[in-house]
């Protein structure tokens, strides 16, 4: 818990695009944003969307949290970093609610501003808009989810800046606020089995000793320097170490 607070605190204490990227990557994402929906969770629970947390009387609903988890996963995948756990995502959502409560009267960002931030992120990821949309649709989300998340992120950043202008480093303030605030987490509502697309499996364990013997797919490819190479011909002679490398140059 302490390390999460510190990391978040470090994040909010930094500035600029790097901050935006990092914050997005580690998941300051939610579906609630001024573009579409009112920013604050409501006071009335719905049976279809039970609360996963109660923060100073404000409900963080399960749907809201689940979408944030899926967005976190997708953004992390695009950025090539490990995704936060669903619990870590909830911790950040709680922190966001606290920050937005403390500086509530922030102006909602315009669509141009949101689009500019998304473009900056895509540039940082080296991904096209189509690739980002495709990655989102793999977890059942639309681009509108990303737009709302970025809009909310900008709101949170403004709230942080407002708090900082009061002279208190946000990281310190947040640590105190978390200790003080009435936060209830309903762990029984967090028993959601997230269905990440199949490639996710390759992210989870760093080393994956293949549990069962899988046939090595054969291929014939062009060789640098000329000619072609067929894998099965090499395998007939002995073991092969296949090395996929990512960048040329």
């Amino acid at each position: 818990m302490e390390s999460r607070k510190i990391r978040w605190g470090w994040v909010v204490a930094t500035g600029g695009i790097a901050l935006l990227m990092l914050v997005l990557v580690i998941g300051m994402l939610s579906r609630e944003a001024p573009l579409v929906a009112p920013p604050a969770p409501s006071a009335t629970p719905s049976p279809a969307d039970p609360p996963v947390a109660l923060v100073e009387g404000q409900i963080i609903g399960r749907n809201f949290w689940a979408e944030a988890v899926l967005l976190d996963w997708t953004m992390s995948r695009l950025a090539g970093v490990p995704a936060p756990s669903p619990e870590e995502t909830l911790e950040r959502l709680i922190n966001e609610v606290l920050v937005l409560r403390a500086a509530p009267s922030q102006q909602a960002p315009g669509r141009d501003e949101v689009e500019a931030q998304i473009a900056a992120l895509e540039a940082a990821w080296g991904a096209t808009d189509e690739q980002v949309s495709a990655a989102l649709s793999e977890v059942g989300l639309g681009r509108d989810s990303l737009e709302r998340a970025v809009a909310r992120l900008l709101m949170v950043q403004r709230a942080q800046a407002a708090l900082e202008s009061g002279g208190t480093p946000v990281s310190e303030w947040l640590a105190q606020e978390r200790a003080r605030a009435r936060v209830v987490i309903y762990r029984e509502q967090m028993q959601v089995s997230f269905r990440f697309p199949t490639p996710a499996a390759t992210f989870t364990p760093a080393a994956t000793p293949t549990p069962e013997v899988a046939r090595a797919p054969d291929f014939t490819l062009e060789q640098a320097g000329g000619g072609t190479l067929t894998l099965s011909e090499y395998l007939a002679r002995g073991p092969v170490v296949l090395v996929f490398f990512q960048r040329c140059g």
């Binding site: 695009l78 090539g80 994956t208 000793p209 490819l221 002995g238 996929f244």
Partner: protein, 99 residues
């Protein structure tokens, strides 16, 4: 480049190293020439091999994730798929799976 420098240890175990990238042949040739790779390097511009091994576009970048597969008797004996573009297994670990 540790893989190049320790290539002899792979050969000593009777193994061949084959490197692949989702890139045009001329780009791969450029890399091969610049690092002086003693092992074959293949171009997989249509990412067919990368897809067959489940490592294509994991980071949404249209490339293969860095990954190593130890193949023996036509089967995948061990694999390591990087969690980010620079995540690679230590050469010693690969060699251990050739024993």
């Amino acid at each position: 480049m540790e893989l190049r420098d320790r290539y002899g240890e792979f050969q000593a175990r009777g193994a061949e190293v084959i490197a692949l990238a989702v890139a045009p042949p001329e780009a791969v040739e450029g890399v091969r020439a610049s690092i002086g790779a003693p092992f074959p390097m293949l171009a997989d511009p249509g990412h067919r091999a990368a897809e067959a091994y489940g490592v294509y576009n994991l980071f949404g970048d249209g490339l293969a994730a860095p990954a190593v597969f130890v193949l023996k008797d036509g089967a995948i004996r061990w694999s390591y798929v990087g969690q980010n573009p620079t995540d690679r297994p230590p050469v010693a670990e690969i060699l251990a799976h050739l024993e």
